[in-house]
Symmetry: C2
Subunit: 299 residues, 2 copies
């Protein structure tokens, strides 16, 4: 009999479910993020699993990300750093939805000794997945950066997550580019945000305190004829550059491993290169699937 299981990444902005049969990926479904639900998370998950359940039973569903947040599918807690893969996957929270057994993986929290509290949900799955895909990362000390709504700068050592710091750069960028007076109206013709001159200009300003450099996005449009697309790319370069600059102060200069969306990682690679830092990129979806496969082996 075919054994079928589901791996899923349920973040703030989207749900991605992957159906495996006898170990091979056979189907995929996308849905709304935990931050955009108008019905209970259980109901939404059940609806997305139902078409697959009609074809036969599903052994387990393994989920990571905001599914485990308060107000998500079930509160799945945090494992304190330093944390390795065994402690993490051993603390999954189980529930049953329409006859399927669901495991929701925990997030990680900063070490008790950390000066400020910090948390992650979902990125730890990508990190453990990266260890599986690139075993050299699980030996010695490495610096990982996971760009996104809440970017994580992570120090790993010998296969454990030692500590990390969150920069909510993506969320700040989304608010400023869509809802502020700084970027100007977003029209149907705009929205690619990939104005290389604006990005480079923002990057060049990013060694200044960021609050004092934001307003040029608006003044540049009113005085210098800059476009709204230029202004959005300027904000992107300024904010990503400020994030990189802030961490460059405390970093040792070794190569950085970027994990995430390739286009966003490319922006970070440019910002890192402008600060003289080498980087390489691992694909976010590949690493999360590898991490979920590890997380699935829970008791």
């Amino acid at each position: 009999m075919t054994i079928r299981h589901v791996l899923g990444d349920w973040g703030t902005s989207r749900l991605r479910l992957f159906l495996f049969a006898d170990g091979g990926l056979v189907d995929r479904r996308d849905g709304p993020g935990i931050g955009a639900l108008d019905r209970p998370a259980r109901t939404v998950l059940a609806e997305h699993l139902a078409p697959w359940q009609q074809d036969g039973p599903i052994d387990t569903v393994t989920l990571c990300g905001m599914a485990g947040a308060r107000g998500g599918l079930v509160e799945a807690g945090y494992v304190a750093c330093p944390a390795g893969v065994e402690a993490w996957r051993g603390q999954a929270t189980w529930l049953e939805v329409d006859g399927s057994r669901i495991a929701v993986l925990p997030g990680l929290r900063s070490p008790a000794s950390a000066p400020v509290p910090d948390i992650m949900r979902g990125e730890e799955t990508q990190i453990f997945g990266a260890f599986a895909l690139d075993p050299a990362l699980a030996r010695g000390v490495h610096r990982l950066v996971l760009p996104g709504t809440h970017s994580k700068w992570v120090r790993v050592e010998d296969g454990t997550v030692r500590d990390f710091r969150t920069f909510p750069t993506g969320e700040v960028y989304a608010l400023l580019s869509r809802r502020s007076t700084l970027a100007g109206p977003q029209t149907a013709a705009t929205g690619t945000e990939d104005d290389p001159d604006g990005f480079a200009h923002g990057l060049a300003r990013s060694d200044e305190p960021v609050l004092g450099a934001l307003f040029e996005a608006r003044a540049g449009q009113l005085l210098d004829g800059r476009s709204p697309d230029w202004a959005r790319a300027y904000l992107s370069g300024l904010l990503i550059g400020a994030e990189v600059t802030a961490q460059a102060l405390v970093d040792d200069g070794s190569e950085i491993v970027l994990i995430g969306d390739p286009m966003l990682c490319d922006r970070y690679a440019r910002a890192l290169a402008a600060r003289g830092r080498r980087s390489r990129t691992l694909d976010g979806e590949t690493t999360v699937l590898a991490g979920l496969a590890l997380g699935r082996n829970t008791p």
Copy 2:
């Protein structure tokens, strides 16, 4: 015959109109800001003037602020710094609305030699008003700060505005405290935002790069039991502190004159004091009325 005139401050978030008869303030009307109009600005202004016009003719209406922005009542341009009161009030833009003569005062733009473009609309009226109310400010060099949606840090010299820098701190704060995942839900029971511990905590973090300190507003709620009000006050202290820290780097340490809403100015005074800077406050409405009275004497 009684001579009646109107002075008005029409900003992004509100309209304030003041009726004077024979030089004395006799009435006041408040209305929507330029950023919140659902009808043409001319129509809104006419409706607000109409009750006063029924009692007799109005000699002139003198307006400052976003009324003069592109998309406002009429585009009123910018006077380049260094700018004194005569150059400023000589460049008002005139129009007629329902038989009343309306003068819209220009804004100021950064000097041609400035490394980055910058603009103000409305704050220049408060600055010129401050010169009239406190003539010592119109002699020698002084440092003024006008906190708000777009805070202005202004250097004045011998009664002219020499140069300035904008920090959109108020706008960033409004977006993060109301629309981000960092502050958490704003309930009816919350909203005073005056949690002194949260403010002090944010202030204490504000010598770090700001993007790396924002996330504690969220992590503190999830791990340390902080309230949403604490988180909002933390964001306020962090952002205002970061603004003050950024300018402290380029400042000479003299007393700072704050102009604006007294409660907001008090937060800036606390942030300045934490950086060892003395300050005193001038009321924003008093200064804008004094400035509009100066601006009224346009040809």
